[in-house]
């Protein structure tokens, strides 16, 4: 028998300056050609485990390491990260910071150059790997001009050029739109066919990890369960209890009692399997129930349309100073009290559009009015009172030493009296679920905590409209849910909510209305159900509904949540 590609023995690690072990007692063996996915909630130690494999732990991050990590016969303790690079490739989540060359081909060349690979051989490797990830036509482009998905593909090519035996990817798709995600998973799938390569991928997206051989679930630094991918994914209760996203399809089938039948071991996971199982089970969608549901939605839509729009865009155009046209004739209305999602590919113009709503950017053509007046005449300072904007990265916003200072910043700038400021802060922190944290240091909070502080800081000036740019990125499923539940509560209390997101399930679950942006134009608009029923058009905009919705689309109806389908399903137990 050959030695395993990765062997982890009793691994325990603690970061310097912390009291708790980040990972504890991990035992894991990956044979050559294995494809293992590592899943777990935030703070479970996934990235820690991933960085242990190429030696960044213990060489780059100092701390206390016990046990051993043996990769291709080399103990990581005795080899530098650079020496390990020939055996282990590591792709990071942040696709901006891991690229540093000025052209695509030099990015790929960097690794082999460090190992003194002859120049002709480097040329071959550049060709081979750029073709492999589908970037052969971009070889002379600067990486900064690539889209997010292309950048991540380039990062993979750059790592593969070293001909590693083990490839570790740490949440490679977290910041990507659905189709770019698929592009990465498509590459992952081809990579797994290679018997010489062992894959370890940290991933949040349950739908995509169906392809893996095995899944390892991690919680609080310990391995909870390791098993065949499909088996683990069928255990929706376990997955949900860990704070991960359960698949909608098995959850639905469990809810309608598929579990009790003899076929429990065949609980469907994919849309195709689900369709077969649904029809075979003798279930039907009750048209009456479905139509009643849609009719309720139509009535709501009409009641919104009867109002005066709060934000009104007419042929909105925006070009950057360098001449790049980011928005090209967008006309849309957003009504008071609504909760809408703006979706689209990386770089489609979503954020540019949203930045017009609070006057951060002014149109170069067409008009935009907020509350009946153009954004230009109101100016950002006054508009900021009306339209709050929460930026994607809370770290771009937070600068105070205490949560109190941070949240009171807006009200103080607007000259509120001291006692009112105090009341505001208390009230706002309560709204975001951070009561009693006034004296804490925001920088030492978790990502989801910082995200909430950022929302609170914007909420504190009591805007009518709240824009959230990717509020769920970088959070795990449970945090995403509680974040969005909070946003929904704000909406129920009267705020108009506009959010930008890549997470289609968030759209399905929380948005009433969806705007799809493609190449700076409004490509699709409608209620969430209408938009998700146009699966093919969505695909053109690099978007894709969640598996569960794809499954119901196959049945000819669009259901946004398992509960809806349960409600509309009749028959069964044939």
């Amino acid at each position: 028998m050959t030695e395993p590609a990765v062997a982890i023995h009793d691994l325990t690690y603690r970061y310097r300056g912390t009291k708790q072990n980040a990972i504890e007692g991990i035992n894991l063996v990956l044979e050559r050609g294995d494809f293992l996915v590592l899943m777990g909630p935030s703070g479970a130690g996934k990235s820690t485990l991933a960085t242990c494999i190429n030696g960044l732990i213990p060489h780059f991050h100092k701390g206390k390491l016990e046990g051993a990590v043996i990769v291709c016969g080399k103990n990581t303790r005795d080899h530098t990260v650079a020496q390990m690079a020939e055996d282990v490739g590591l792709v990071f989540q942040d696709f901006e910071a891991q690229l540093f060359s000025t052209s695509v081909e030099l990015e790929v060349a960097f690794g082999p150059e460090n190992f003194a690979v002859p120049r002709e051989e480097i040329a071959t490797r550049i060709d081979e790997n750029l073709t492999y990830v589908g970037l052969a036509d971009f070889r002379n482009r600067p990486p900064s001009t690539l889209s997010g998905g292309q950048k991540q593909k380039l990062a993979i090519a750059a790592v593969l050029a070293l001909h590693p035996k083990v490839l570790v990817m740490d949440e490679p798709t977290t910041d990507l739109d659905p189709i770019s995600k698929m592009g990465i998973f498509e590459i992952t799938n081809r990579l797994r066919q290679r018997s010489d390569l062992t894959l370890l991928v940290v991933e949040h997206e349950t739908e995509e990890v169906l392809q893996a051989d095995r899944i390892a679930l991690l919680k609080d630094g310990r391995l909870v369960k390791v098993g065949p991918a499909r088996e683990i994914l069928r255990d929706v209760d376990l997955i949900e209890s860990l704070g991960l996203m359960p698949l909608g399809i098995p959850r639905f089938f469990k809810a309608i009692g598929f579990d009790d039948t003899a076929a429990a071991a065949e609980l469907p996971l994919t849309p195709a399997e689900a369709e077969v199982a649904y029809r075979r089970g003798g279930w039907r969608i009750s048209s009456a129930a479905y139509e009643a549901m849609v009719a309720r939605e139509t009535a709501v839509e009409q009641s919104f349309r009867a109002k005066t729009p709060l934000i009104h865009c007419c042929d909105l155009e925006f070009s950057y100073p360098n001449g790049v046209k980011a928005l090209d004739g967008i006309s849309l209305d957003i009504y008071p009290g609504d909760i809408v999602a703006i979706v689209g590919q990386n770089g489609s113009g979503k954020t540019t559009l949203a930045k017009h709503f609070n006057g951060l950017l002014l149109p170069t053509g067409g008009t935009i009015t907020v509350n009946g007046k153009t954004t230009k005449e109101q100016g950002i300072f006054r508009l900021g009172q009306l339209v709050g904007y929460v930026f994607q990265n809370p770290d771009h916003q937070i600068f105070s030493e205490t949560v109190y200072d941070e949240v009171s910043f807006g009200p103080r700038l607007r000259g509120l009296p001291a006692d009112q400021i105090k009341a505001r802060v208390t009230e706002t922190l309560k709204a975001v679920g951070l009561e009693g944290t006034e004296e804490e240091d925001p920088f030492s909070m978790t990502k989801s905590g910082r995200q909430r502080v950022a929302v609170a800081a914007v909420l504190a000036v009591q805007p009518d409209v709240l824009i959230l740019d990717e509020p769920t990125t970088g959070l795990d499923y449970r945090e995403q849910r509680s974040m969005m539940d909070m946003v929904r509560r704000l909406n129920e209390n009267g705020s108009t909510i506009i959010f930008i997101t890549h997470h289609m399930w968030v759209v399905a679950e929380y948005a009433r209305k969806v705007f799809v942006i493609k190449d700076g134009r409004l490509f699709l608009e409608g209620t969430t159900r209408e938009v998700f029923s146009h699966e093919r058009e969505l695909l053109e905009a690099s978007l894709r509904p969640p598996h569960f919705i794809q499954f119901t689309n196959r049945l000819g109806r669009t259901m946004l949540r398992p509960a809806e389908l349960v409600e509309c399903t009749e028959g069964g137990a044939a």
Binding site: T51, L56, A85, Q98, S103, L106, A158, H396
Partner: protein, 260 residues
């Protein structure tokens, strides 16, 4: 946002070898130090402007126009304090010291402009290669070019952060200079933090791709000196030689200037 300093044009200047461009930069640096009198600096200034024009780098110079403006004004004022002449103009300003201040300003402007031209026309990797071929160790070359690379990253994050704060009601556009600087200070905290975070990932990415794995290293990028390079070099060597000779011969000085 486009924060890249390198301008991807195909001008004859871009096509020059990085070594040539570095040497030209050094030649101007030496040449400009040879004269005090601004009138004697005019040929050098013209030489710099011609390069600016040929390399189409003016766009980058325009980006730092405020920095240049502040630098020029303060240089003109300050040099008058550090030098004096025999013909008084007003207050601390004398005719000779004024000439001198103008000369120093031309010197600063020329060097900054040459730096901008070098960065605008040379890719990072070419710059490293150029420095290595001229005898610098790889790590030193890499460090220099990485620090240059940080500039656009920091500029981009400063831009996002100032937008985030403006959306919260921070008015960065009004008030006098002291008030504005005061308002700008809070922005630096997130800028530093995000830069440090990015630098950390950058460091990890570098090591993960084998930076410094072996003593020796190969280079994919190849550089070739062409006839044009030699022609340019010859011209600039003559320029430096003439400048030095003129300096030694006593030309280009300001008569009656006293420096402190």
């Amino acid at each position: 946002m486009d924060a890249e300093l390198y301008l991807d044009y195909n001008t004859p200047y871009h096509r020059l070898d990085a070594r040539t461009k570095i040497i030209v930069f050094l030649c101007i640096f030496v040449g400009v130090l040879m004269f005090q009198d601004p009138r004697w600096l005019i040929p050098t200034l013209l030489l710099v402007l011609v390069q600016l024009f040929v390399s189409r780098s003016a766009r980058n110079l325009q980006r730092i126009r405020y920095v240049l403006l502040v630098m020029s004004i303060s240089s003109i004022v300050l040099w008058n304090f550090f030098a004096s002449g025999t013909t008084p103009l007003f207050w601390v300003f004398d005719v000779e010291s004024m000439y001198y201040a103008i000369g120093r300003t031309i010197l600063i402007f020329s060097i900054v402009t040459m730096g901008v031209i070098l960065i605008s026309t040379t890719r990072n990797e070419e710059l490293i290669m150029g420095m290595i071929k001229m005898g610098l160790p790889y790590r030193v070359g890499f460090a220099i070019s990485t620090s240059l690379r940080l500039v656009p990253t920091v500029a981009a994050s400063l831009m996002t952060i100032s937008q985030a704060q403006r959306s919260r009601g921070l008015d960065l556009e009004s008030g006098n200079i002291v008030q504005r600087v005061k308002k700008f200070l809070p922005l630096l905290v997130p800028v530093f933090i995000s830069s440090i975070r990015n630098t950390n990932i950058f460091g990890m990415a570098l090591e993960s791709r084998g930076f410094g794995a072996r003593e020796e290293r190969t280079y994919y990028l190849q550089m070739q000196m062409t006839k044009a390079d030699w022609a340019v070099l010859t011209f600039f060597f003559i320029y430096v030689a003439v400048s030095i000779w003129l300096n030694v011969a006593g030309y280009g000085k300001i008569v009656g200037l006293v420096r402190f």
